[in-house]
Symmetry: C2
Subunit: 337 residues, 2 copies
DNA sequence: TGGTTTTTCCAAAACGTTTTGGTTAGTTAG
DNA sequence: CTAACTAACCAAAACGTTTTGGAAAAACCA
């Protein structure tokens, strides 16, 4: 059914070698022959079998990304932006993104990564949602498998990465709130397994220290990076005998959930209470009022990661195996801006 | 570097045939031999090359989905839910989802589909955002390529599909608004190239006719399924000399944008104006007030589509080549519920 | 004219599996 | 004892390309 190179060769009474070399631009095929081959291939609708090329060239022409899903209500816009960036960069290089899904830190996740690596299903892997002692990094580095990460781990050996300086960003965010007169500043975090939590909490504490505000553990809550968990955590904070006058969410979704809780508590966000987040997802602009956040351009980060992993696959030296990007604070109505 | 079946065979002094048949469960290998093979494979960390298996078995073990992207601000939660559903169902079947990105109805999109089909890159393709005269359906059917679609086209021959009865859903939604006392009900749609627009507009008009409200073209606006376009369209509607008292968005993002415009216009959504959407994305619950919408469980639809395309790939008869699902109206605060 | 170089084609091997079609030794039944 | 059957292994072919290493004819130069 599908046209193979043998069909083209037969029609032209040439060898399959000549057809292959003609289509691939080898200079030992006469130009006239090349044009005949190109015309016949087009006429017959021939395209090389991707699988056969993969096998011969030892290339999958795909970059892998495992989406950390947790069931049906998986609607974090971070990931649709991230995948769009991965996809657009891959497409521009005639690569595809191979996507699979697994709950983070599960046996299923492990099996997937191992399956991909062992069977050479993809040429490289992009990681996100880094854990402090991330087995994925250990495994992939040990396997000498091309990998890049958004964010860092606390491991002695780490994957090549792009990192946003969240610690500085958070300190800056606290400073912004202090300048707005806030002294009771709460923080809703995530699991301390995730290095993003480690960094952002550290930044928060840096900011407090700089402003000489004593750290108070009752201002700390934990969510799971989702809007509902941010909502629940904020309800608890708002029910304190001395509630905070400002809440920082570990990410935008958490902060959006906290805004919801504040609204339900009869507070006017931006006047009675300040709320801020992190990531700069599109939803943060559309909140009411718009959410103050720290912008990390997810789409372009994703594109850079693909570029980076492709360089590794091609055995090119990385200009910068670790890139640290200074984030940008975007002040909007949710902190009275 | 990677372990091949030859390494396993050499270690056991067996043929590669025996190793292959032992691992694949053939009954012409002695049980004792099989156990030795399994142990050696595990010890050596052998996994079959996916590529070589693909070539021999003529299977890609992947389902393709091309994400209709339009640049960096691509953050429609519909797609992260959809991909999560695709991925989870595929994973449960030891398949992967191959994702690529292209602007809808572009040359790039066409090239991608053709590349995938011709090179047998994927075993089947899932389509969404159906166009009325969708070239993709024509091309894939003509190529006898396994394909399933979320939604229908207006073509004489259509792909196997799952369809939500949006027409009836919209009529019902209009009825709901009429019961709430609304007679000036506007509709913000999308491009009429998309069959979702054709169906939802028809349902809107059905609802007006049933309520004996004359259709008024000045209540019709067009967006592009994004929040910002919904916002702009709603501003225009609200600036009419006789503005509508209710606005229906073609999808939830459009409606959320319209809510934003209403807020800016000083209107209280759910009291001064009603707004409703379609899709039931998670964001619709979290709007303030929560958005009345028509629920279509994106995640489970995606899972069903994967199941369906796998049946086609396996040459199994489809229980239902066309499934029509009746949607559920979810009344929330945005329509005064 | 003969030797050397260049052009342009081609057979075979390679990639790593799975499947086909045997072969051989051991066992069983008449 | 002999013929038929079964168990359990194996070489070769297959999948569809790309690459290696020639071979042969034409062109060039002394």
């Amino acid at each position: 059914m599908p046209i193979s190179i043998r069909d083209v060769a037969r029609q032209l009474n040439l060898s399959i070698t000549t057809v292959s070399r003609a289509l691939d631009g080898y200079d030992d095929v006469a130009e006239e022959t090349r044009q005949r081959v190109i015309a016949a291939a087009r006429e017959l609708g021939y395209a090389p079998s991707h699988t056969a090329r993969q096998l011969r060239r030892q290339r999958a022409d795909a970059i892998g990304y495992i989406l950390p899903t947790s069931g049906p209500r998986f609607s974090d816009p971070f990931f649709s932006e991230f995948i769009a960036g991965l996809g657009d960069e891959a497409t521009s290089r005639d690569l595809d993104i191979l996507v699979s899904t697994a709950p983070p830190d599960s046996a299923a996740e492990r099996q997937l990564y191992e399956r991909w690596v062992r069977s050479r299903r993809v040429d490289g892997i992009v990681l996100s949602r880094m854990r402090a002692y991330d087995w994925r990094v250990k495994y992939l580095l040990k396997s000498h498998f091309p990998v890049v990460a958004l964010g860092h781990t606390l491991l002695a050996e780490d994957a090549p990465q792009i990192e946003i300086n969240a610690r500085a960003g958070f300190a800056h965010l606290v400073q912004h709130l202090v300048e707005r007169g806030h002294r009771r500043i709460a923080y809703i975090g995530a699991s301390s397994d995730l290095t993003l939590q480690v960094d952002r909490l550290a930044g928060y504490r840096d900011g407090l220290a700089t402003a000489q505000i004593p750290f108070d553990a009752s201002w700390i809550e934990q969510g799971d990076l989702t809007r509902p968990s941010g909502y629940q955590a904020a309800l608890r904070l708002l029910n304190l005998s001395e509630p905070p006058t400002a809440i920082i969410g570990v990410n935008d979704l958490t902060a959006l959930g906290a805004m919801h809780a504040a609204h339900e508590h009869g507070l006017v966000v931006g006047r009675d209470i300040a709320v801020a987040g992190y990531d700069g997802i599109e939803d943060s602009e559309h909140a009411q009022p718009p959410l103050t956040t720290i912008n990390s351009s997810v789409y372009s980060l994703a594109r850079r990661l693909v570029k980076m992993v492709c360089a590794i696959v091609a055995n090119e030296p990385l200009a910068e195996p670790r890139t640290l990007i200074e984030p940008e604070l975007i002040v909007r109505g949710s902190t009275g801006g």
